[in-house]
Amino acid sequence: MTARTMTPTTLPDKVWERHVVHEGGADEPDLLYIDLHLVHEVTSPQAFDGLRAEGRRVRRPDLTVATMDHNVPTTGLDQPIADPISAKQIEVLEANCDEFGVTLYPMGDPHQGIVHVIGPELGLTQPGMTVVCGDSHTATHGAFGSLAFGIGTSEVEHVLATQTLPQVRPKTLAVNVEGELPAGVTAKDIILAVIGELGTGGGIGHVIEYRGSAIRALSMEGRMTVCNMSIEAGARAGLVAPDDITFAYLKEKPHAPKGDAWDEAVAEWRTLVTDEGAVFDKEITIDASSLTPQITWGTNPGQVLPLSGSVPDPDSFDSPAAREVAARALAYMGLTPGTRLRDIAVDTVFIGSCTNSRIEDLRAAAAVFEGRQVAPKVRTLVVPGSGQVKAQAEAEGLDKVFTAAGAEWRSPGCSMCLGMNPDQLSPGERSASTSNRNFEGRQGRGGRTHLVSPAVAAATAVSGHFASPADLA
């Protein structure tokens, strides 16, 4: 390891410096060691092909783990996959993991699930690590104080072959969320408000450290929701300093250190804080006590407003470019300026995705559904993030609450977040979704997505139009 610097250092820089294999200097980027590489079926086949073409092996299969999530159906798992191209991609991952000796949690395995849900619940994601995956929501793992970021397929191949990545060091951005969240306001509302403040590009070139009393008060599930959407503000990584909440979550997880090794690890993890006096390249502060439930109205996650607001008028934006962007978004979304967001009716509600499919998310949704019914004609899907989340929810009887309310209880996967499996919106269909992207066509060609928290999604399912739990009689 490189010598630890004595000058005050930010947490992102600390984790970075502890992973530099070769310092690049002026002529090349630093070469970083990767502690954990998560692999799924969509962004890996061409990387394994690249290894084969060059006669290379996976350098550290023991630091690599694979699962199937993007493509998998969430119903009828006892049946063959209907889409032959999806089926092929699943088969190719199985064959590649077999050939290169990579541990795989396949469909139907009790530990299968969304890659960003299973890493933490297996205890593979730990503080201070570097974690990569061919998926932009890899920042989720930053909730543990690890430096976790999404990579492309060429980089997947590079990590498989060398367990390292050449990287230009990002700038640092402190997002301070101070104060107490009002009742009914969640981690999802924090991150949507942060993205609204930074815009889709505000975090480009930066790693975010989420700080402040409102972040410290969040559970690990909440911190994962916040870090997960860092990329929607342009930041490849976002992290939270580990603390007793982190350690309590990790203790006894299958791959967490045991015995003396646990104590040794915790002592090391306690050094993972931004030093007093360390300076970030950029800093913003959000007042948590002023936040209310948030909802997106447009076609990127930066186009977000409080639920109490109305569809904005494109003419209200400053520049001609911004006016055009807003007008195009409203045309796609089929919305009229001035419409109260609470008056917008939905066809579908999706509760799931790597942003909001953990047990706490499902408990929040179930608390709203308890003793209530989904509004007529609203299709409501509840898709747990993993086999473990599914089992836990069923042990708590949450599945019964969902089905009694008229929602569908599914098997784990990415599902309608990106519509690579049969769970999709039809053209013109409108959803309330707990996922992370409201891009055009994201949930199915022509589909119209509004991003919200699990509590708002559930209340919306009951009302038939956008609502918070407080709105329900």
Binding site: A26, D62, G152, S154, G201, H255
Partner: protein, 198 residues
């Protein structure tokens, strides 16, 4: 990767900001296990609109894409880069790129050119006025120019990436020069760090 020194050709104006990778290549195209054939899926949904600029005959054969800010935000899918190169683009010009898309481009033979917003706007205006306008991107000098429109600007590229593009070098091969450093680093890692095997 093939070595690239200069890219010269006509350009296509995609005058939109926040073009995300879901638009560049929609997710139903991501089920393929090959690296080729993605050009047909480029901007698949927008192409259904006959008025979309990619369908305009005057821009047929363009090898440079000029876009608004925040190009390539969103998903990490390298398929977005493969779709652009498979279609015939060799470079994309924008005031700001999504980080992952930018990295993916430099690994997969697409040159990302970051210019000031006023240069981007001037280029968009010039190619809308004259679709046959020649644009030159010089990777040795790090300049982008459209002489007939009187536009010339420089763009940033870190020296390592510039060197890799000019020489067409394989990243893994370059990293393996540091194999001894990787071995040494691995030996010093704490024993309590997790492994994925049982």
């Amino acid at each position: 990767m093939q070595p690239v020194h200069v890219i010269s050709g006509t350009a296509l104006p995609l005058d939109r900001s926040d073009v995300d990778t879901d638009q560049i290549i929609p997710s139903d195209w991501l089920k393929r296990v090959e690296r080729t054939g993605f050009g047909k899926g480029l901007f698949a949904e927008w192409r259904d609109d006959r008025n979309f600029v990619l369908n305009a005959p005057e821009y047929a054969g363009a090898t440079i894409l000029v876009a608004g800010p925040n190009f390539g935000i969103g998903s990490s899918r390298e398929h977005a880069v493969w779709a652009l190169t498979d279609y015939g683009f060799q470079a994309v010009i924008s005031p700001r790129f999504g980080d992952i898309f930018y990295n993916n481009s430099t690994k997969a033979g697409l040159v990302p050119v970051v210019v000031e917003p006023d240069v981007d706007e001037a280029l968009l205006r010039a190619i809308k006025a004259d679709p046959a306008l020649e644009i030159h991107i010089d990777i040795e000098r790090l300049t982008v120019s459209a002489p007939a429109a009187g536009i010339e600007a420089t763009f940033p590229l870190d020296p390592f990436t510039q060197h890799r593009i000019l020489e067409g070098l394989d990243d893994v091969g370059l990293t393996l020069r540091h194999a001894a450093d990787i071995d040494a680093f691995e030996k010093a890692r704490p024993g309590w760090l997790p492994v994925t095997t049982a």
